[in-house]
Structure formats: C-alpha cells, structure tokens
Amino acid sequence: MTVWIAGRISENMTDSIQVTVRCFAGLKEKIGKPEFSLVLPSGCSCATFKEQLVAFYPETSVYSSRLLVARNGSYLNDADLINDRDELACFPPVSGG
C-alpha cells in the first residue's frame, strides 16, 4: 500500500488516502525536496504515517522515532488519525532560539 502517486488517487483505491507532506531542515535535506505526496492506508494514525514515510524514504530513518508532525499549525499525537487530503508538516526536533 506504500505507493507513490504524483496525481490523484484512482477511483478503485477506496481504502487509500493521499496527503501532501511539507518537510523541513534535516528531513528536507535527506528527502531532497520540500514537498511531496504520499498515499496511506485509509484511517491510518499519525504513527503509521511516520512509519510509512520512513519506509518510503529509508534515508530518513535516523529521525524515525523523533519526527514531529503538524497539521494546520498544531502538533499531532501518534494516535491522531490522518484524513484524506491532509496537508502535513513533518520535521526533526526543533532547535531554534
């Protein structure tokens, strides 16, 4: 189910959702681009999203357990559910200030 699709989900993949991911800092450098789409199992949690992200981009595994995810400017917990067409921000632990 970890399928990269540039465009829309085809109609028969009803048990899949697609999200847009913006990534930052070291994560953006590992992945090589600031934004991409990811197809996920329908009803998946934030924890599953992170697993799928690392599975698709194994070079990000250095961050896997520490990745932070936000939606609409608010952090998500591991148990929070991901919705179709969510725009998710994903990044390593912050180090500003």
């Binding site: 800092a25 932070l68 390593p92 632990p93 912050v94 180090s95 500003g96 200030g97």
Partner: protein, 155 residues
C-alpha cells in the same frame, strides 16, 4: 515553500501588546525593548540568544537557521498566550532571525514587560524554554573544520 531573501514575516496582535517577527536582517533589540516599556510596568526583561563560537571542543564558523514560518508564528503566539495566563505580562516583542548567522550574531531577541521583576524573569525564562521545545525553527552548524550538522536537542 517561499524563499525570502530580504523580507520579514511579522505582525502585531489586535491589542498591540504582542509583536512578533521572523526576519533575515539583524535584530534591533533596542526597538524590541523600547516597544514593551510601559508606565504600568516596573520591569523589562530582554533576552538575547547569540551565536556562540565555541561549544565544547568544537568551533562554529557560522549557523544557518531555517523556519517553518507560518507555524512558528502560530506557535509563538500560543506560547505567549500561555505565559500571559500564568503571569501578568503586559507586552511582548519577539524577533527570530533566519538564514546565515555569524558568531556573536543575535538569533532571537525577546523583550517583555511586567509590573514586577519576579514575574518578568519567570515569564521570559518560561518562554525561552518552551520556544526551544516546540517552535519549528532549526539550526545547522557550519563547523570551522568544514563539516556541518543539523542541531537537535538531546542528541
């Protein structure tokens, strides 16, 4: 992701008590300080986070700061509201710099005014602690030996 080279993200909240900016130009800490002074307050605390050249045995040539600006502004505003629920903070002015910084440069400046000094020190310290935990800004060390590292706490 928009790339900004000479502009700042900034705004002021409704009651004019909070000023925030994320900026690529040097931080004017006098302006931050001046903007929070108030006849209702007996205390102003200004904190500056500056680029340290020596950390342990390693020497920093420069830093690069990157921000997720929209969320950083939202998160800063949330933390300031949290501080204002805990202490009688009158005004807060905060600027965070992004882009290339040299040793000695100011990465963050935060000025707050409070009726008395105790709550000023506590609120400023609280804000800095929380900012470093949750505001989506990152720094990358360009070490003097030519290597680079994204910095993450507890590594």
């Amino acid at each position: 992701m928009p790339s900004k080279t000479d502009s700042s993200t900034g705004n002021e909240n409704d009651d004019g008590q909070i000023q925030l900016s994320i900026t690529r130009v040097p931080i004017d800490y006098s302006a931050l300080t001046e903007s929070v002074r108030s006849n209702r307050c007996g205390a102003v605390v200004l904190f500056l986070g500056t680029v340290r050249e020596i950390t342990g045995e390693k020497k920093t040539a420069s830093l690069e700061y990157e921000a997720y600006e929209e969320m950083a502004m939202t998160e800063l505003r949330r933390l300031i509201e949290l501080a204002r629920q805990k202490w009688p903070v009158e005004k807060v002015s905060l600027a965070h710099r992004v882009g290339h910084l040299d040793p000695g440069d100011i990465a963050i400046g935060i000025a707050i005014s409070t009726p008395h000094r105790r709550e000023g020190f506590e609120a400023a310290r609280f804000l800095m602690d929380r900012i470093k935990e949750t505001v989506p800004i990152w720094k990358k060390e360009n070490w003097a030996d030519g290597t680079t590292d994204w910095v993450h706490p507890e590594e």
